[in-house]
């Protein structure tokens, strides 16, 4: 596609429910990143995928968070048993291999009530 697509754009969920956030990167981009941005805060790294290599999960804040990337393209970030502190904007970015400029999607605003 023309850009990085994320869905849904907004998600309101009840505390304790599981949520899935989707990212569709730019076609041909081998690198895919998930970040989250809380109100007034910087971007917090969550997870990084590069081609078929094992993902770098060093930023995941707890074992309630997981992500997968199927066929080197679409990625899904799953948050289990959501907590209020999970409320944030979840951003996905992609880039070609070896590049150091990243294209972001518009994000998913997650609100846990």
């Amino acid at each position: 596609g023309a850009g990085v697509s994320q869905s849904p754009s907004n998600k309101v969920t009840e505390k304790g429910k599981d949520v899935e956030l989707r990212c569709d990167p730019i076609s041909g981009h081998t690198a895919l990143y998930w970040y989250r941005q809380s109100l007034g805060q910087g971007l917090e790294f969550l997870i990084y995928f590069q081609g078929n290599s094992a993902p770098d999960k060093s930023g995941l804040p707890s074992d309630r968070f997981s992500a997968e990337r199927t066929g080197g393209s679409v990625s899904t970030l799953t948050i289990q048993r959501t907590q209020q502190e999970d409320s944030a904007v979840y951003l996905c970015a992609s880039s070609p291999r070896g590049a150091h400029g990243y294209t972001f999607g518009s994000g998913t605003r997650l609100t846990v009530v």
């Binding site: 990085v4 007034g40 910087g42 971007l43 590069q50 951003l91 150091h100 400029g101 990243y102 972001f104």
Partner: protein
């Protein structure tokens, strides 16, 4: 630990003036430094990349400098316009081929007509 500092106070300037934003970092030796623009409700948009062996980079009305001795980057917008009003983020990645950028919290720029 790695730390990136951007002025948390908004920068207010008059249209036509040059805006200068600062990014300082500590405990870090990045190979690449990037600047992004972020508008409310949107993901960051990549603007410029500068490498550690480059002192200055220009693109249209934008200029970035990178001083690895001072551990500082300056981002300039000349002939600023109200449409330049946004939050500007700096990001660092590398060395050692690391492709996981660390972002500053950003500085809000407000250009008054």
């Amino acid at each position: 630990s790695q730390k990136i500092e951007q002025n948390s106070e908004a920068l207010n300037i008059q249209e036509g003036k040059t805006a200068t934003l600062t990014c300082n970092y500590t405990n870090y030796s990045p190979a690449y430094l990037q600047w992004y623009r972020q508008d409310p409700g949107r993901g960051p948009v990549f603007l410029l990349l500068i490498r550690e062996n480059e002192k200055e980079k220009r693109k249209e009305r934008l200029k970035v400098t990178f001083d690895t001795t001072l551990k500082q980057s300056l981002f300039h917008i000349t002939a600023s316009q109200p449409a330049d009003s946004a939050t500007y983020l700096c990001a660092l990645d590398g060395p050692g081929g690391s492709y996981i950028p660390t972002f500053g919290r950003g500085t809000s720029l407000i250009v008054h007509p």
